[in-house]
């Protein structure tokens, strides 16, 4: 049994205390009336280039990413590096489409993607579809952030029997819930700065320290089995691993900024310029993610998977324990505390933003649309605060009582679902030509087919597509969004013949500075 690493634990707790205070104090930062939803849920849309960089970075590059990507490299090798081309392709998408979304949302005071879709296409059911997709895709993501937290807490030797082992997680959760409720988006924005400084420090420390200990990168990669080092070259009549790699990267890139937490981060910026500027600056995070993917290979090279002191951790957390094990193996205890706090705080920031984003969606696009049409500002923001609590509680209950693997399945499905909002949201900022019911049916076809492919592929995101005897194994999300788009276009052409005019609240000038 692993002993409690007291030095690491104390540093970890001190850093957690610090960000807890920061989270509460943040309510007074750039003070606004937190009884208004756009103040609580978007921090008044006042973040400049610098804070937006930290906020979106802290939002997208989550603790789960920092644990899961190296874990995938550790277990499966080169395929994990798809995260790199993925993050290369997200920024042109951010640069082109999302400043337009920012301008139109600012002009019409929309706070969610579903608000925009409702305004643009004048159909509450389509808006509901976008809102529900966002919420459902986000919930398992929040749960997985808690897994990241669980892994580092376990890594410090804090383990209990049965549910007693979950007490630290519950404490972290209460902290998260309390500062999100009090301060809204200002809390994760201020904490993101601390989190990212810790993560950068940790990433560079590990990338410098481990290769030195092991005698250079050449020695590190020499210890990686050849089968894991590169992708398998595709055989005849199939795009093989290359197709899987490219479709995973492209599909994930298209999906990323449609997640509610991404859109919340984008809309809290103070202008479309801030977003464009960040599209050029955010690759700094991608570079760090690439470095961290390499950490999976460091874990292979140091052989932590075979060390007896880590056996119980790997047994409990699987490959997700690779990164914590490597940190424990490499660093002195005090720095393990810093590194684990980086991961732990890295879980709280996106979890807070995700719960706020889901709360905004529920409050605006479900509650206000279908239950209470004329809430006061105060009622609206109060509702969002409660929903943010419920959403996080749901994630906590899920993680404690349901096997983690289910959260992973649901998160993978979430990616396949959220991408189905590409036509209405991402393409919707360019064109009103799509018919709302065509968009709705396209969305439905995409969701159903994507879910079916996921199940048919034995609960995996890659479907072995075969067309005319040629194999195209690849990411179901990408295949089904193409189908969705085809259905949307054909049906729009048809429906538009019968519909004369539609209610579009927006005009072309709303999408520009």
């Amino acid at each position: 049994m692993q002993e409690v690493n007291w030095t690491a634990l104390i540093i970890f707790i001190l850093l957690f205390l610090f960000i807890t205070i920061l989270g509460f104090v943040a309510a007074h930062w750039r003070k606004g009336d937190l009884d208004q939803l756009h103040e609580w849920g978007l921090a008044g849309r006042r973040f400049g280039t610098f804070i937006t960089w930290f906020l979106i970075g802290g939002d997208l590059y989550t603790a789960y990413t920092f644990v899961a990507v190296p874990a995938l490299a550790f277990g499966a090798g080169a395929i994990a590096f798809f995260a790199v081309p993925y993050t290369i392709m997200i920024y042109p998408i951010l640069f082109l489409a999302f400043p337009r979304l920012w301008y139109v949302c600012h002009k019409h005071r929309y706070i969610t993607a579903a608000d925009f879709v409702h305004g643009r296409f004048g159909n509450r059911w389509l808006a509901l579809a976008v809102a529900v997709t966002g919420i459902v895709a986000t919930l398992p993501y929040i749960a997985l952030q808690l897994v990241g937290l669980q892994v580092v807490i376990g890594g410090m030797g804090v383990v209990g029997n049965g549910y007693a082992g979950d007490v630290p997680l519950i404490i972290a959760f209460i902290i998260l819930a309390a500062f999100t409720y009090t301060s809204g988006l200002r809390a994760p924005a201020s904490i993101a700065v601390v989190k990212d400084l810790l993560i950068y420090t940790t990433a560079f420390a590990v990338v410098i320290a481990v290769p030195i200990q092991l005698g250079g990168f050449a020695n590190v990669f020499a210890k990686v089995p050849p089968a894991k080092l590169l992708l398998a070259v595709p055989g005849a009549n199939t795009t093989g691993a290359y197709g899987v790699y490219a479709t995973l990267a492209l599909g994930s890139a298209l999906a990323l900024f449609l997640y509610p937490h991404s859109i919340t981060g984008i809309l809290s910026a103070s202008s479309g310029h801030v977003i464009r500027r960040n599209a050029a600056l955010l690759p700094g995070y991608s570079f760090m993610l690439g470095l961290l993917a390499l950490v999976g290979f460091f874990a292979i090279a140091t052989g932590v998977g075979g060390l007896p002191e880590f056996a119980s951790g790997f047994k409990r957390f699987g490959n997700s324990f690779a990164v914590p094990a490597l940190f424990l193996h490499t660093f002195p205890s005090w720095f393990v505390g810093v590194a684990f706090a980086a991961v732990g705080i890295g879980a709280l920031v996106p979890a807070a933003i995700m719960s706020i984003a889901s709360a905004n969606l529920y409050t605006r696009n479900i509650h206000r649309e279908f239950f209470n049409k004329n809430p006061t500002d105060k009622q609206e923001s109060q509702m969002a605060k409660w929903v943010s609590l419920i959403v996080k509680l749901g994630a906590l209950v899920f993680i404690i009582f349901v096997p983690t693997q289910y959260a992973i399945y649901l998160q993978l499905l979430g990616g396949i679902w959220i991408i189905q909002t590409v036509p209405s949201v991402m393409l919707g900022v360019y064109t009103r030509w799509f018919h709302p019911w065509a968009l709705f049916i396209g969305w439905l076809v995409g969701i159903v087919m994507g879910t079916w492919m996921f199940i048919a592929a034995k609960l995996a995101p890659n479907y072995p597509l075969v067309i005319a005897g040629h194999g195209f194994p690849g990411y179901s999300a990408l295949y089904t969004v193409i189908l969705n788009l085809a259905v949307t276009i054909v049906l729009s052409a048809l429906f538009n013949l019968f519909t004369k005019s539609r209610a579009d609240q927006t005009v072309a000038a709303d999408y520009r500075p």
Binding site: A78, F81, V84, P85, T87, I88, M89, Y91, P92, F95, L96, R100, P211, G216, F217, A218, N219, V220, F221, L229, L230, L231, V233, Y242, Y245, A246, A249, L250, H273, R276, R277, A279, A280, L281, P283, G284, S286, F287, G290, L291, L294, A508, Y511, R512
Partner: protein, 68 residues
């Protein structure tokens, strides 16, 4: 007048620069190899890391070119 038209439509030819990083990323066959290594890192890994930087530079170029 032409510039005015481009501003109105929101399109700029500079955006075509983005195509480069999409092709570089998606054409997996061009970089799935170990050699040449750089400071011991196989080509597959350092090449893609390099493209993160190049992608950032391309985005910056488009930003400054279209910001006027």
């Amino acid at each position: 007048m032409d510039q005015q038209g481009a501003r109105q439509s929101g399109w700029s030819w500079w955006y075509l620069l983005f195509v480069i990083q999409f092709i570089a990323s998606l054409w997996v066959g061009t970089y799935n190899r170990a050699d040449p290594t750089w400071i011991g890192i196989p080509f597959f890994y350092w090449y893609q890391m390099l493209w993160i930087i190049l992608g950032g530079v391309l985005t910056a170029i488009v930003y400054f070119a279209t910001d006027a």
